[in-house]
């Protein structure tokens, strides 16, 4: 536990002394804020048009669902932004240690590679969770002017935590495979995009293949969360994916000790 905390705090410190965390969080909040504003303005316009039409034609104003029109749309664009952000948070975790030779310190210290891995994983996950929770502000703004249904919002955010854990595990695996941070980033983008696009290719596949493809798609499982449904199958999917990647990472790191 002490070892885990030592690695965890070292990684957290390193995120916050470098400008990387601030730049990534800043760029992300700017982008998501801009998108949120666009979605709101679009919603506003629709409201106005419908209002005018209701006046001209007579009759009542149709009920508009704030969750469907704003929340769901906003979630849909944010999903993809996480895919862009996470590899930048994970890229240096192992690649840099390999490049500068500090991995030699870790590997010759009485600390297991699992402790190192978990320290790194949870440090990255904490930073991710901080950035994610900052976006909650937009929904508070929404609350000030309307009354969104908070159930799906919270479960959507829960979904983001599971999604993030999965993305981070993929990014860490990529970082463990190389000493070049650029290669690590590109590799994680590649893997994540592949799993992202699987959902799309499922629509062309035969019925059984489509089922399998949908099961391994990242978005398919996220949609349940965003509808307000917390399904154990989705949770199991994300967690097992995460465990699998982290397991592979320990194998990659330990492999140096087997090659005789």
């Amino acid at each position: 536990m002490g070892n885990f905390l030592a690695v965890y705090s070292k990684e957290m410190r390193s995120y916050f002394v470098s400008p990387v965390a601030y730049v990534i969080a800043g760029v992300f909040l700017f982008l998501s804020g801009y998108l949120f504003r666009s979605i709101l303005m679009q919603f506003n316009m629709i409201c106005l048009q419908l209002g005018q039409r209701a006046q001209q034609m007579g009759g009542g104003m149709p009920a508009l669902n704030l969750n469907e029109m704003v929340v769901t749309q906003f979630f849909a664009v944010m999903d993809f932004i996480w895919l862009l952000i996470v590899p930048m948070l994970t890229m240096r975790l192992y690649a840099e240690e390999k490049k500068t030779g500090t991995i030699e310190l870790l590997m010759t210290s009485p600390i297991s590679s699992v402790q190192v891995l978990l320290g790194k994983f949870f440090a990255c996950f904490s930073l991710y969770a901080i950035i994610v929770s900052l976006t909650m502000v937009y929904f508070l703004i929404l609350e000030a002017y309307g009354s969104p249904d908070w159930g799906p919002i919270f479960s959507g955010y829960l979904g983001y935590l599971f999604l993030g854990a999965t993305f981070i595990s993929v990014g860490i695996l990529a970082s463990a495979l190389t000493e070049n941070q650029i290669v690590a980033v590109l590799l994680s983008f590649g893997i994540l995009l592949m799993f992202w696009l699987i959902d799309w290719s499922a629509s062309f596949a035969g019925p059984t293949a489509a089922k399998i493809l949908q099961y391994v798609s990242f978005i398919e499982h996220l949609e349940d969360f965003q509808r307000g449904v917390i399904d154990s199958r989705d949770v199991v999917f994300y967690l097992s994916f995460t465990f699998f990647c982290l397991f592979l990472t320990t194998r990659v790191i330990e492999s140096r000790r087997w090659r005789r």
Partner: protein, 313 residues
Amino acid sequence: MIEVNELSKSYGEVVAVEGVSFAVGKGTILGFLGPNGAGKTTTMRMLTCYLPPSGGQATVAGFDVVEESMEVRKRIGYLPETPPLYLDMTVRAYLRFVARIKGVTGPQLNGRIDDTMEKTGIAHHQNTVISHLSKGYKQRVGLAQALVHSPDVLILDEPTVGLDPKQIIEIREVIKGLAGDHTVILSTHILPEVSMTCEKIVIINGGRIAGEGTPESLIAQLKEGEVLRASIGGPGQEVLSMIRAMDGVIDVAVESGGEEDGVFIITSTPGTDVRDSLARQIVDGGYALRELRGLDMTLEDIFLRLTTEEVKA
């Protein structure tokens, strides 16, 4: 404290270390001497559990480096060829991190950090970010990280490489001060380093041990005989054949020589002293003895002989 038995390591086709055996007693400083590419780093990486051996065994404090790696790792401090520094950390934060992953906990932690900084002379830089330090200070921080948990065994891979002469002397002083409390293995490709800091030397070349012992015993072992340098006035050829005919003389070489005088390098069987009889013969023969002195073989000669012969073989 450290026992190495027929240790080997291959990287695919490349054999980096082959059948290396040696032992280091508690509290001594062992110099691991060899030219670049000799296999020093590879051997040290096996001793520190970073690389698995391809063959043979090694134990540190009685623990096997493969089977009981955790126990070994608790007891060693290791300074790799490039110091493993986190450049964005301050010296103190870095040493704190290293101490924690080495298992130093709670109340001892700050004391250990202060002691180590004191010993390595970096206390006044404790709040400096490591990337801002000079190369010499970075090396000291590297040394401090190897010492911070007060390990029984210290393994230092070329600790003075790339430093300026003043820094080299300072680092050597620190290392010398460690003997007694710690068992130290120090690798280097610079010869004077071992004769200045180490009590025992292992010479490695081409992945194999080429010589082993104290500096004195290495010299004694490898001496092929006593060597004299004599400057003699008289016809060169005559003097040469006279010396050759003497009892105990194995070999005579002419360093320089003319019609009237010559300088000769005379090798005689080990343990004999031909100076007196040589002087008498020269005088009896009517030649002039201008200079006569024994030549000491230096560690440098031995190192060169060992490492070059090995390459030829």
